[in-house]
Amino acid sequence: MSDISEDRVRHLAGLARIDLTNDEVTHLTAELSKIVDVVATVSAAATDDIPATSHPIPLTNVYRDDVVTDDVLTTEQALSGAPEHDGSRFKVSAILGEEQ
């Protein structure tokens, strides 16, 4: 059995900035538990001598040369998708928080 509790779901919802009703918390707790149990069957199959993978293709050291390319956007292009800007910078709501 997984250790997905309602409290944990509320915590995750808080981290993800998602408002959940009590009904939704109950519903998601049951659903997430099932998902985690399914994933756990994979963990059971993977023994200690199998290294964790984070990528389906076994490549390493894929690099880029340290050269500026023409991917660089103009300020106008950079801001073109922004709902609000001041002509050079993105305008966002004042968010209580700070650099991490």
């Binding site: 984070s54 690099y63 880029r64 956007l73 991490q100």
Partner: protein
Amino acid sequence: MAKAKLMDFDKALELFEPVLGFEVHVELNTTTKMFSSAPNEFGGEPNSNVTPVCLGLPGSLPVVNEQAVRYSISLGLALGCSIAPSSRFARKNYFYPDLAKNYQISQFDEPIAFEGKVDVELSDGRIVSVDIERAHMEEDAGKLTHVGGATGRIQGAEYSLVDYNRAGVPLVEIVTKVIYGAEADAPELAKAYVATIRDIVVALGISDARMERGNLRCDANVSLRPRGQEKLGTRTETKNVNSLRSVERAVRYEIQRQAQILSEGGTIVQETRHWHEDTGATSAGRPKSDADDYRYFPEPDLLPVEPSVELIEELRAALPEQPAERKRRLKAEWGFSDLEFQDVVNSGLLSELVATVSAGASPQAARKWWTGEIARIANAADREPTELITGAQVAEVQLLVDEGVLNDRMARQVLEAVIAGEGSAREIVDAKGLAVVSDDGALIAAIDTALAAQPDVLEKIREGKVQAAGAVIGAVMQAMQGKADAARVRELVLERAQA
């Protein structure tokens, strides 16, 4: 902001043992960013050094900058670290608009470098070994400007403006192990540690390391534990410490502030604190809570970094000498006395002297400028000497002195003009028509005039009272509006007396 009560520093140390830890962020001076080919440049129009990757646009994918990996390995090696045969990037998830993706690409449990040691020299020559836990690669975040509200701070702001030019700039974060036993040296050790990291990255040539620009940033962790207690106290993490002097002051401040609270029976809140250069105090920031649950997971868009043994050894062979070795060599090369050399080291000006000497000034002249006039001006302006002027600029002023174009007084004037941003030393000399009068004819004419006003001077000199020449030299300097070489005037006056 109410000013916190502070306990006397010595008393604080009687009651408590300070325990330290540092996180230093170093911005690498690669040509492009960590995961995108946007220019890595300071300044510039907002949002002009960005690509779709920097803006987290849908479909954009990061690709690792090979140069940044090489620099990170070199730094790891210079810190005495082991280099991981395989290391991975991870996503650090948080909601804040300084990164458009809602996560920062960092490294978590598989950093590129780990378990190192750095020797840090204190002002009296004692060496303290600081253990390094890890050094990992990550990307810098963008810059927010808060608009509205009284103070320009986040509280009361109506909205924020975001510039992503800095987003994605390659960073290496160096984390120390817990540092015990620093005792009364704790503030100085903090400063000396950051200065050592700065010296290392400058010697490696991998960062501009200008603290005032944020190329090198220190977060200082400080906690206190009562004497005789085993358990560590609650720590605070002071951020925004942007000069060597501030690092020292911030650590001292936190020791005194925490000691006062603890001695009154209070508790320390585990939180981020911000250092304010203007008030010399820290203020409370974000409390550490479950907001620190970053849900790290391996970055699926990037592949593991697995440097070959050959690459690591190639970079190890290219390492510059260790700071301590370098100091010994420079002291010998420059022929400085212990006192002279220690003065330079304690002022954190070693690299500036190296730059000045390599630009053609003599070591002694370089030392006098940096620890004298420049330090004085910096002190008066409450800034760091390194923010004011570069070694090459200082050397140019000195070369004009060596060529006999400027006397000492005029050179100081030119230096001030260079610091004020009026141009290069030679441009200023030309623009202001500054140059010593080296025409002996003009000097002799001025000497004649001065002697006519003080006819007994020559007689006094002949009687052996050479200091009498001073009055004539003073009069000549005044007549020439300071543009005379005082030593030459003195020679001419003494010649006249012997004639």
